[in-house]
Each structure stands twice: as C-alpha cells, then as structure tokens.
Symmetry: C2
Subunit: 174 residues, 2 copies
Amino acid sequence: MADVAESERRILVAVDEGEESMHALSWCLKNVVSQNSKDTLILLYAKPPRAVYTALDGTGRREDPSGYLFSSDILAAMEKYGAEVAACVIEKAKKMCKDLQQDVKVETRVENGDPRDVICQMAEQLGADVLVMGSHGYGLIKRAFLGSVSNHCAQNVKCPVLIVKKPKTNAFSK
Amino acid sequence: MADVAESERRILVAVDEGEESMHALSWCLKNVVSQNSKDTLILLYAKPPRAVYTALDGTGRREDPSGYLFSSDILAAMEKYGAEVAACVIEKAKKMCKDLQQDVKVETRVENGDPRDVICQMAEQLGADVLVMGSHGYGLIKRAFLGSVSNHCAQNVKCPVLIVKKPKTNAFSK
C-alpha cells in the first residue's frame, strides 16, 4: 500500500455528525489529497444501531437496544431520523470536498452498524490506502455506547490511519 | 493547524530500531511530504530508559530498572549501546529521506526517556503539524515495558497523528 502511487490512492474518511470529523476531512483535503491528483475520497457514514439514536436524542434514559419498548411509530420515526442525519452529514461532507478540492473524485457510503465494525470492514472491503477520522466522534453520549471509535480502528484497521483532533486552542497554529 | 499551508508543515516522525517505523517514514515520504515543498521532516528517536536496554538485549531476565544490579562497566556498555542504536536508527532514517525525497528539509532529535512521554512532549514543543509513527514499534520485549506507544500518543498528542502499520500480506496492495 505504501507503494501505491499518490495519484491512485483511495482515501477513506469516516464522517459523522460531530464537528471533529468535518475538521478531519478538512485537514485531509488540505494536507493529504494532492492537487490535480487521481485520489478518490470515499466518505463513509456509519448509521449506528437503534439504541444509539435514542441516546442521540439526548434523553439519556436506558432503552432496550432491540427497540422492544417502542411503538412502531416511534421506531419508524427513529429510522427516519437516522436516515436524515446520514443524508445531512454526507451532504455537508461532499460540499466541503467541492469547496476545498474541486477536482478530487468523491464516493459516498452509508452503512448500518456499529461505526467501529463498519469502518474497519469498509477499510478492508474498499481497499483503502489510508483511513482518516476524528479522534472522538459520535459525541459524549454515543461514545458511552460505542467506546472510542478511533482507538478501535487504529488498532484493527490494516491500512495507515490518520487521526485528526479538532484543536481546542490555537496553541499549535502558526 | 489544519490551516497551515502544506508547504510550511513540520512533520514529526518517531523512528526506532523496528522495521515498522521505517515503513511509516517511507509511507510518509511517499504520501504526505509534497514534492518541492518546504515541509520540514523532524526525525525523533527516543532513547528509552535503561531497563529497556536490558530487555532489548533479549536476556528476558528481570532487572532492577535503577540498574542497581549492574557494575559501572556494564552500565557504561549499556549507555554506549543505546547511543550506538540511536545513531544507527537516525542515520538509516536520514538516508531514506534522501533516497525518497531529496529536497525535503530534515532535522533530527535524539531524546532520553520513555518514548511515550518524549514523543508527546516533542510534538508539542516542536509545534508539529502532524505526528507520523508505526503502530507497534519497540518490539515485543520493549512493548512489555512501554505498552503501546502509538495508542498513548494518539490519545495524548494534540496534532493529527498518522499511524502506519507494516503490511504483513499484500492483501491491501494494488
């Protein structure tokens, strides 16, 4: 993989609704993707398990992950919510790609499942040359369900992994 | 940091005697460093605590990390050994930079201490725009002493961290 010419790389970027993943995408577009290259950027959004939507709702109450406690209306509403979030995140990411690297080829994937598993599986399945992601992602509540996604991926993905944190201060800016 | 122009980046690469860190450096030179850029590559070797040299010797026997059990001759020999390893690693890394990216500016640093602490401190002190390292490093025996260096750095370094694994197979090659 290290020998893949820069102009042929498949760069997998895991995006979510958090600002940090958009910062990671931005950093990647500015620092990894080459001008006028044939790099392909693959934007991946993992639609987390149902239990996570409920956490995302911010109620913080414990739910049966099977959704057993929910009426079909609520389940349908949660599915719709999840789909809308996915579409919104992908749209935002695609716009950023166009704004920062007009020429880069962009593919998008929305997959269902625990982001930790989805990202690792997709990195392998898509033959990614590098995986780019934020260090946190999925917010405090979702992390309580999912654990640290980036730690898991850094340990389990075979290709190089670039973890980009959103600076809280300008200490590192020049 | 994400806004630092590509041509001004300070790229910190943690190198050690393991093949994986050289693979990470090679991948960085091919995929991150830009041709004819003003990137500065900073090669950092952390000279680990004395107890680690003894482990590195492969004896595997438990030692007093303070070196209490060693004669001054042995201590001097171990220090000399450590300095020689550092010089060898840095030389090898500098040659790889010259071979793969003739124009890139290269600085070298050899610091004493636990690589986990040294790398995190240097990333901040040197104002690194990105930290590049192998995923394991320091070999099985040293890891037993040091734990996973890359996990620690990915969690504690503020700048983006690129973790490059040495592929065991060609599964990901194209």
